[in-house]
């Protein structure tokens, strides 16, 4: 066990965990922030996506010991960001979710996409969202919501 100081959604957090513990489990079990989901543990599904230094990152494969004070933003904090809030609203407006389990990760990937590419094409969307699995396969509405958010952010 070791003590780590993390910067999560602009707040300083202290945790005492095994150095190998992935950020995902630190968020879920030490900080009780369960919006970030466990889906596969091998960065193959994207349900655990957070922003690390502003980059969409699979938190299930990032050990806590590598984080230092790099800023982490999770689904619980993304609504404070104007792009984040717009994407969440578009998701609700387009009635995207079904079971909803993957949608935290989908939204985090979509926000990162729109920050880098405000007017994404279908190809941009497929590339940026390509690693986020939705087992319900709500992909048609995910596309619509991203395009709608992009319009809103004009």
């Amino acid at each position: 066990m070791a003590t780590y100081h993390l910067n999560v959604n602009g707040q300083r957090k202290q945790v005492n965990v095994d150095p190998s513990t992935p950020l995902l489990w630190v968020l879920r079990e030490e900080l009780n922030m369960t919006g970030t989901k466990y889906g596969c543990g091998i960065s193959a599904c994207g349900a655990c996506t957070v922003h690390l230094d502003g980059i969409a990152t699979r938190s299930c494969v990032v050990p806590v010991s590598l984080l230092n004070d790099r800023p982490i933003v999770t689904i619980e904090g993304i609504g404070a960001d104007p792009v984040g809030r717009t994407v969440q609203d578009a998701w609700v407006d387009k009635d995207v979710v079904q079971c909803g389990y993957c949608q935290s990760g989908q939204i985090m990937s979509a926000v990162a996409l729109l920050k880098a590419t405000p007017k994404p094409t279908d190809a941009n969307i497929e590339e940026s969202m390509g690693g986020n699995l939705c087992r319900c396969a709500t992909y048609v509405r995910i596309r619509e919501a991203i395009k709608s958010a992009s319009q809103q952010l004009k």
Binding site: T34, G41, E76, C99, G100, R135, V140, R141
Partner: protein
């Protein structure tokens, strides 16, 4: 609404306790309205209703005006947490903006009125509970009117309702919340007038989901998100071959990990496993990885996929147990070989792989237990936990947790996941234990859509229509060895042949038989069950026949349909009418058609496909649906858009579970890969046949049509027919 939903969720356990107290106190200080099990749910040929436990309810009108409607089903994406309350609220004339929905705990009152157990399956949520929720809403409304009429000394006939308000003569009005306390003392009317469909204000409208916002801001708690004081996490090491057992183990390195509390053997449905209990998931996982286990794998089958295919194909050459025998069995022999098609199909095992890994949380206190499970089968899961703990089912308080998908995987007859959790909780008496199946456990853990081989011989008549049809299906039975085995008739498990044996196509000489090999691989219903493979076989063969007859695929199907196949005819007509998909198909693309009826809902689709990177790229799907009355057309649209994408699972290059020397060869999404955004349809246009008929399901019917339609399009592009899944590189 959002804040209220969160509040409801947080206080769920406490408030349920309050509900029970309040009910026994006949109203008490707080306004509450309770309704008992509806009378019609007790009719029919089911077993007599058991004692109602706990005395919970469907409607709770709160004094703040919020109307809490309890949903007797798991919500796992299909949208019933919104659509069932819509039905009740409409008949009740409730103000929809004030409606809150919650998932019911396990209790007799929440059993499916047709199936007689509490469950989600068979696309029956709306089909079975439409009438029930209408009745409940209408009776609640009648009781509120009775209370208002008493108060005003007028006849109930002089009152009307709108948006949670009763209006009486002389400009009198009273809000439901003001009337609820009096209404709760009124007898429940035996009959209440149901609305004429023209009076519906909510049913039939596109209504957004009630659970969207908390699913978009991370606040909604799924089963896996549960956190209870003192809770431990358990992971089980399962045998590498189904039925294996622990012969011995060394847990020294596992126990050395900080936070690991217990390592012990537990019995499984077959064989045994090793449970690791730790303070946190990560410690439990590390510990399991470090266990040294000596498995006893003797005396059990070691399935091997290539050997299974050989034996299945051999079986398919012989007639099996007869599912259908219509017309002359010798008719085929009179048809020349050049007018026959012989087709052999392969379908692999498929895992459901819902996004939220399987889990169950149980706390055992000696004479009572409490369970939190994302469950499709509350009745079975509650019974299993009770059995393990030596309790009666009513001694297990069972909370239905939101589930991250399921597709049948959370509806197991043996309730093996809650059973494992109960076995571990029994040992850790007093401590809540959350059992987590990792993704690896899920992919390797069995309960798959069974693998199947089909062999079909078709004799074509001079009119180009099938004159003789011999069809042999080979696959494990879902029901054999379970309490539902009595549903197997003459050696035929209908779930293996559904979609073929009951086809709506009119073939004069039609013979379907089935072999059910037995094997130690656990199998389970997978969204749309037997229709997954039967629709593929039927719809690819019909397409081939139409092509051979040089006929339009829709015209051919219409000609072949039985006279009573009205729903299928209606969707083919609507698909033809929405004909944009026929014109301006870009070069390099082709359109494939398929139709299928399952769970009472008919579906027809046209799919525009090209080949990119040796895989099918699905540019557009036009789909026509007849599901009777569409209670929430927005849900129907969503279910079809996404359900078609789910159906692509069986076309994926890595869409198969395979065995070598008894071991599953895949372990996670890298080896067993469901559709990502690039694999799913880009656009889906959903057209619903207007209908006033009783609503039928929408969860499963989208799944069967997409894969045959895609390969029918591919056949146009490549000239080849595709009969082996998963689909190899093109």
């Amino acid at each position: 609404m959002r804040a209220a939903t969160q509040l409801e969720k947080r206080s769920q356990i406490d408030r349920r306790g309050f509900l029970r107290v309040s009910a026994s106190a006949a109203g008490g200080l707080l306004v509450a309205l309770y309704l008992d099990v509806p009378a019609f749910a007790q009719e029919g040929n089911q077993a007599p209703p058991q004692k109602v436990y706990p005395p919970d309810a469907f409607v709770h009108i709160r004094n703040d005006g919020k109307i809490l409607i309890t949903v007797n089903r798991l919500e796992f994406g299909q949208g019933v947490q919104t659509s069932l309350p819509m039905i009740l609220a409409d008949e009740m004339d409730a103000d929809w903006s004030q409606v809150i929905a919650e998932l019911a705990p396990a209790a007799d009152v929440y059993k499916d009125p047709i199936f007689g157990i509490q469950m989600v399956g068979g696309s029956g949520s709306i089909a079975h509970s439409f009438g029930q929720y209408r009745e409940l809403g209408a009776r609640t409304r009648a009781m509120l009117i009775a209370a208002a009429a008493d108060r005003w000394h007028v006849s109930p006939d002089q009152c009307r309702t709108e948006n949670s308000v009763v209006f009486g003569p002389g400009n009198r009005s009273a809000r439901y919340a003001e009337l609820a306390k009096d209404a709760a003392r009124k007898p429940i009317p035996e009959k209440a007038r149901l609305k004429n469909p023209s009076e519906f204000r909510i049913i039939g409208k596109k209504v957004r989901r009630l659970d969207s916002r908390p699913k978009c801001d991370g606040s909604l708690k799924f089963g896996l998100d549960l956190d209870l004081p003192g809770m431990k996490t358990a992971i089980v090491a399962h045998p590498p071959v189904f039925g294996g057992k622990v012969r011995g183990f060394d847990d020294k390195h596992a126990r050395a990990i900080d936070g690991v509390r217990e390592v012990f053997e537990i019995p499984l449905t077959k064989g045994s496993g090793l449970a690791v209990v730790a303070d946190r998931f990560w410690a439990a996982k590390l510990a399991r990885d470090r266990l040294k286990i000596d498995w006893d794998l003797t005396g059990i089958e070691h399935p091997d996929s290539s050997q299974l295919w050989s034996s299945y194909k051999e079986l398919a050459h012989k007639p099996g147990n007869v599912a259908v025998s219509r017309g002359d069995e010798k008719a085929m022999d009179k048809i020349a070989a050049r007018s026959r098609i012989v087709a052999e199909y392969e379908f692999p095992y498929l895992a459901h792989a819902p996004m939220e890994p399987l889990n169950a949380t149980v706390r055992f206190n000696g004479d009572r237990a409490e369970a939190w499970v994302p469950s499709q089968f509350q009745t079975m899961d509650q019974m299993a936990i009770a059995e393990v703990l030596g309790l009666k089912p009513e001694q297990v308080t069972f909370h239905t947790e939101f589930a991250g998908g399921g597709f049948g995987r959370r509806a197991t007859i043996d309730a093996h996941v809650p059973r494992e959790a109960a076995l571990i909780a029994k040992r850790l008496r007093g401590t809540p234990v959350k059992l987590v199946w990792t993704r690896e456990d899920d992919v390797r853990g069995g309960y798959y859509r069974p693998m199947h081989a089909h062999r079909v011989e078709i004799g074509i008549g001079p009119d180009g229509l099938p004159a003789a049809w011999r069809h042999v299906v080979v696959g494990q039975s879902l029901l054999a060895g379970t309490p539902f085995a009595m549903m197997i008739k003459n050696g035929v498990d209908e779930t293996a042949v559904e979609g073929t044996s009951d086809t709506s196509y009119n073939v004069p000489n039609f013979h379907v038989s089935v072999h059910h090999p037995t094997l130690n691989v656990p199998v389970l219903w997978w969204r749309s069950v037997g229709h997954t493979h039967n629709a593929f076989v039927m719809e690819t063969l019909i397409d081939e026949l139409a092509t051979r007859a040089k006929m339009d695929p829709i015209a051919y199907r219409r000609r072949l349909l039985k006279a009573d196949a009205k729903k299928l005819r209606s969707v083919l007509d609507l698909l033809a009418e929405k004909g944009a998909w026929r014109s301006s198909v870009p070069k390099g693309r082709a359109v494939g058609v398929a139709c299928h009826e399952s769970f009472g809902t008919a579906v027809a689709c046209a799919v525009e496909v090209s080949i990119e990177n040796k895989r099918p790229k699905i540019h557009r799907v036009t789909v026509a649906v007849n599901c009777g009355l569409a209670v929430n057309p927005l849900t129907v649209e969503s279910q079809f858009q996404a359900g078609l994408g789910f159906g692509v699972t069986q076309l994926m290059a890595r869409g198969a579970i395979t065995f070598k020397d008894g071991r599953v060869e895949q372990r996670n999404f890298d080896g067993y890969t469901p559709p990502y955004i690039i694999d799913a349809p880009v656009n889906v246009d959903v057209h619903i046949v207007p209908s006033g008929e009783a609503p039928t399901g929408c969860g499963e019917p989208p799944v069967p049509v997409i894969s045959p339609a895609v390969v029918n399009a591919l056949a146009k592009l490549t000239g080849k027919r595709y009969r082996s899944l998963p689909l190899a590189s093109l």
